[in-house]
Symmetry: C2
Subunit: 214 residues, 2 copies
């Protein structure tokens, strides 16, 4: 398997965690999102992934895109170390927590969005940072409200094994810290992330552990 | 089943289509996103869904959130009229097309985001409309590139039966038209949407067919 990745891409980070949790070997192909106007905008990458986004995963002669779709694919094709529980209601819970990050928070804070805010709308750096923190803090507060006091929450987002929701939460909290977001009201989220970060699978997936880290 | 919905919510629209495709009866509970500062921000709704977003689905005594998680739940619990294909690669394809809308386009054009642009960043109506069109046109161009010329694309996004990807595409195109986006370079997308809109399941799910339509 070949993963097109960028060390700081939150969506690529999710897939790296999933691959590591499952113990799957892969070749990392770095796609630099800033260098030369962005390597993800080059014709050869757009041929692989017309959306011009990372990550993309090559497997079985196919190119897969969208981090959550890739992780579900890995879970279906390599069911050992499952990342989703068995029951439909529980699966819906895990997917909803994952999507609370992947749909409600991260898309608003993507590099291309920050670039549009600055370049097209003339937002200052302070305004862009406030925007970033607004969506992270609002979104993670909703995740906290969902996790806290729910008996299905365990050491990780769902029970005592890390899974799809944790693959999404950890990169989001990494980003939140980078932008000095206030996570003081989110003890459940912080506890889960701290436990994840003790695991080798999460550590090896971290941005600064990547070959293309700067 | 009880669906908390708003006629113009694109995410609720997706779930309404899925319920209709499966022939499932549900009680629609309208949650008005504008009236009185937004009914989704009221304590009684936040107790159901701490994220304060629609849709939410009550089933089996549980509240499910996040439209894609809800649709996957419906597909697992009511497998007749499947909305995802059987093979892992094909499922990944359908999920990726769905997420290209649900993660890359729609979150940027949500009501709350447009409100932030106007109220906090002082963006004019023209700037907000340009923002809206920018993300829709960029995102749908990527979907078009993915669908066009792919032999797995049929009358619908995947083969000749409507499914999860169509549940996401049709509401997005509905929004695109409402904001006068340029879809001239997207004949595959337009063709699929036109075929969907001929189906009763899609028609009954449309915003103007809802009891709370204005």
């Amino acid at each position: 398997m070949r993963l097109y990745t960028y060390f700081r891409s939150s969506a690529a980070y999710r897939v790296r965690i999933a691959l590591n949790l499952k113990g799957l070997e892969y070749e990392a192909v770095p796609v630099h999102l800033l260098r030369g106007g962005g390597e993800h905008r080059r014709p050869e990458y757009l041929e692989l992934n017309p959306a011009g986004l990372v990550p993309a995963l090559e497997d079985a002669g196919q190119v897969l895109t969208q981090s959550l779709a890739i992780i579900e694919y890995l879970d279906e094709t390599h069911p050992q170390v499952p990342l989703l529980p068995a029951g439909a209601l529980e699966r819906a819970r895990v997917r909803a927590i994952a999507q609370a990050t992947a749909c409600d928070i991260h898309p608003l804070n993507n590099l291309r969005v920050l670039q549009y805010l600055g370049q097209t709308l003339g937002a200052s750096e302070a305004q862009r940072n406030a925007w970033y923190r607004h969506w992270v803090e609002l979104g993670l507060a909703a995740v906290e409200a969902r996790l806290a006091g729910d008996e299905l929450t365990g050491a990780y987002c769902h029970g005592d094994r890390p899974g799809l929701a944790d693959c999404c939460l950890v990169p989001q909290v990494f980003n939140a810290r980078r932008f000095d977001c206030d996570l003081s009201a989110m003890p459940t989220v912080r506890g889960i992330v701290a436990r994840c970060e003790e695991l080798e699978a999460f550590r090896r997936a971290a941005p600064m552990a990547q070959p293309d880290a700067e």
